[in-house]
Amino acid sequence: MNKYRFCNGLAIFPEHDMKMLSDMSRSGWHIVGLSGLMYKFKSGDPIPYIYSVNFEKTVDDNMLDIYSESGWEAIVLNNGYQIFRATEGTAPIFSDKQSEIDILKEQRNLCGKGALISLTILIVFIMVFYLTDIRNGLELLIVIPIVCFIFTFFPFIGSVFHIRRVCNKKE
């Protein structure tokens, strides 16, 4: 049997989602994947796993060796975001603020650029349709820059706040 839960936005509320995954595991539902905006869970024995997310741009074997050596198992692996799982008491994936901030800044800059580009395209789209009489269904293409903007702008805002939270965290 499977269960599904909505993703609350990994980039915006990562701690919130990781706690939810942990609570699910405690009640015997373990995440097996993330497709689109839904986490997929399979039932099993209740185990108090802990979860962590990271935002590396690319994933490779070398990186996975380092995680598994530290006791963290990869559950979701995508370029841009990865979710790892470990047993209770495992040392956290980040051991200093500097490295965590470095990664978040990379993510912030990438998403910021994406948001800016899609916003520019969106404005050009709107101007073209406003200034001309082209109405042949092509105007529906405007959905593309809107979607791109949403999926870059919110992670951008998310990483800005995330960086601030990490900066204020006590070491």
Binding site: S52, E56, Y67, S70, F94, D96
Partner: protein, 109 residues
């Protein structure tokens, strides 16, 4: 929090300092963490995300080299530039400790 990146200023965080110390001889990425644990009597544990990002950034700054090994994995080794940075930072730390020793006196030894 310093505004400039440590990869530009050469002011090493503790993790960066320890990682550079472990890769004076070629070593597998996943073995570095155990080595640091051993070196520090289990007092310092470097998380995998910190480890991987730091290695990546150090490589971009040309402080370390990646050498492919026979089993298809990557070995890391410090470069001359990395060694200079490490020794520079070591002297800086040594200097500050020497000053502290003088000011605090023997009883804190």
């Amino acid at each position: 929090m310093a505004k400039t990146s440590p990869y530009e200023s050469g002011e090493l965080t503790d993790s960066m300092f320890l990682i550079l110390l472990t890769i004076i001889n070629p070593i597998h990425g996943y073995k570095i963490m155990q080595k640091i644990k051993d070196m520090t009597d289990n007092n310092i544990i470097i998380g995998p995300a910190t480890m991987y990002t730091t290695l990546k950034k150090m490589r971009a700054a040309q402080w370390i080299d990646e050498i492919p090994s026979e089993d298809g994995k990557i070995l890391y080794q410090i470069t001359n530039k990395g060694r200079d940075i490490l020794i520079n930072d070591y002297r800086k730390k040594q200097n500050i400790v020497d000053i502290a020793k003088k000011e605090l006196g023997e009883e804190y030894e």
